[in-house]
């Protein structure tokens, strides 16, 4: 029996109101995979993720999760279906404590909340001592960890991360990438949008380069790292 594709986006056209931003995107995430999306600012990377969440207007194309069509689903239903989403910005509730943030992440979860919170403190040990601090008082790196832990409180069938390392120190960046890898090894497929293209491709099974709302290049993480055009455009290589 073949396993269903965790997330399959086919020929997606979508945008904000009347403006079409995505002009035929194709992306697939197999179970157990980490898939990276890279590309210049404004390419439409966040827009792809927001389409999956039902946050904007899908014009045509299909999005399916484990074989189930989810185009046009309401965001809270998408979460109920098992989509764990970490937005690019404003991804924690600043006036809620760390624990309360995790509880809000667990809104759709019926049982095992306390156990899951403990698991999250094992995954992000830094947060344990900050559990009663309000999220707005934490450093950028710690806030990002709260955002990820909060998103993982759902019964995740897939995790969507939008630039989780943006603006963080190299130490925190390395820690986030390591944690993403660990989450994936625990069985959650991951779709990761990143500006730090090299590190993202290093942990990715597959990568997509988006430019101007369309697929430009795709391949295994290693293929893209070795691709001269990609290297020149996104990896800071000189030749």
């Amino acid at each position: 029996m073949s396993k269903l594709t965790a997330l399959e986006i086919t020929n997606l056209h979508a945008g904000y109101g009347e403006t079409e931003i995505l002009k035929g995107i194709n992306i697939s995430v197999e179970p157990s995979q980490t898939v990276a999306i890279i590309g210049p600012n404004g390419a439409g990377k966040s827009t792809v993720i927001k389409s999956v969440l039902g946050l904007l207007n899908v014009i045509s194309g299909s999005i399916s999760m484990n074989g189930v069509d989810i185009v046009g689903i309401a965001p809270d239903k998408a979460v109920r279906q098992g989509i764990s989403y970490v937005p690019q910005t404003h991804n924690v509730f600043p006036n809620l404590s760390v624990t309360e943030n995790l509880e809000m992440g667990a809104w759709t979860r019926k049982y095992g909340i306390a156990e899951r919170i403990d698991e999250m403190f094992d995954l992000f040990p830094d947060l344990k001592t900050k559990r009663n601090k309000i999220a707005g008082s934490l450093s950028g790196g710690q806030r990002q960890m709260v955002a990820m832990a909060k998103a993982l409180m759902v019964e995740a069938k897939i995790m969507l991360l939008d630039e989780p390392t943006a603006g963080l120190s190299p130490k925190f960046q390395a820690q986030i990438f390591k944690t993403v890898k660990k989450i994936n090894e625990n069985g959650i497929p991951i779709l990761l949008v990143e500006q730090n293209a090299k590190q993202a491709l290093e942990i990715a099974d597959k990568g997509y380069v988006l430019v101007d709302g369309a697929n430009k290049v795709e391949g295994t993480g290693q293929d893209l790292i070795n691709d001269r055009n990609v290297a020149r455009m996104f990896l800071g290589s000189k030749d």
Binding site: P75, D76, P87, H90, F93, L96
Partner: protein
Amino acid sequence: MWETFGFEFVNFYLIPGLVLGCIYALGAIGITLTFSILRFANFAHGEVMMIGGYFTWTAMVLSNDLFGIPLHPIIAAIPAVMLAIALFILVDRYFYKPFRSAPAIRVVMASFGMMLVIRSFVQAVWGPNQLTFVPGIAKPNELVKNLTASVDMMILVPNKHFWIIAGTIVIMLALSWLLTKTKIGKGMRAVSDSPELAKVSGIDVEVIVKATWCVGGFCAVAAGVFLAMDLQMLETTMGFRMLLPMFAAAILGGIGRPFGAVVGGLVIGLAEELSVYPWLGDGSLISPGYKTGVAFTIMVIMLVVRPSGLFKGRLF
């Protein structure tokens, strides 16, 4: 000292200021929650306070006339709270929800219209004239009077003021429990922080909106009934007259800060009453006719100097 200064100050200015502050505080809670969770200034809030007073009066009259059972206003307020919440939820469903994704000014105008509709409705049903809420002169509580008199610091609090202050404290404690200990209360704080993030966290925002109307409606009726208990009468403009000081209290405390609104309400209530105390010489500091200007002045100064309020509320 007590005879010449304290007695008058405490009994005729401080306690009435606290009582007024409690009423403002309860009203401002609903305003600040609506502002931060639904993102609009609800002009109809004062009218719901007012109609809550009329519902309560009606429950008292019906109980007395039909069953011969006189009800304390606080008991009679229970059905009034339910009616007011139902009113809030119906108004939201049919008059505010259609504007949820439109610019905020539309729903503000809708609430302005609702304010006029509710007031006209009350005038049509109960008549435009004042109604007596509780007859008679409120006598000071004997026990408190005698106890304090025995230490030469006589305090005259009528029972109605005792009920208002104690009731406000109980409601504050309940609100604090709701917002920090229950799932729905934490959800309200989450939506107030970020509705977008709340949605993508799986929070059903419409459920939170209903909860907000329930809390706001409850506090509004409490405020309306306490005001009616204090004045011992009802009139159709009583809610509207509270609107400015309640907005001032919400802004002073910081939008989205229910406990800020409480502090703001107390500050404004006290400031209004203490502004007519004869601080300098024999006459009141400012003429009682200008008392209502105090809230307005505080609001304007706050908006200029520190628009996020005392407790760092939201900026719009």
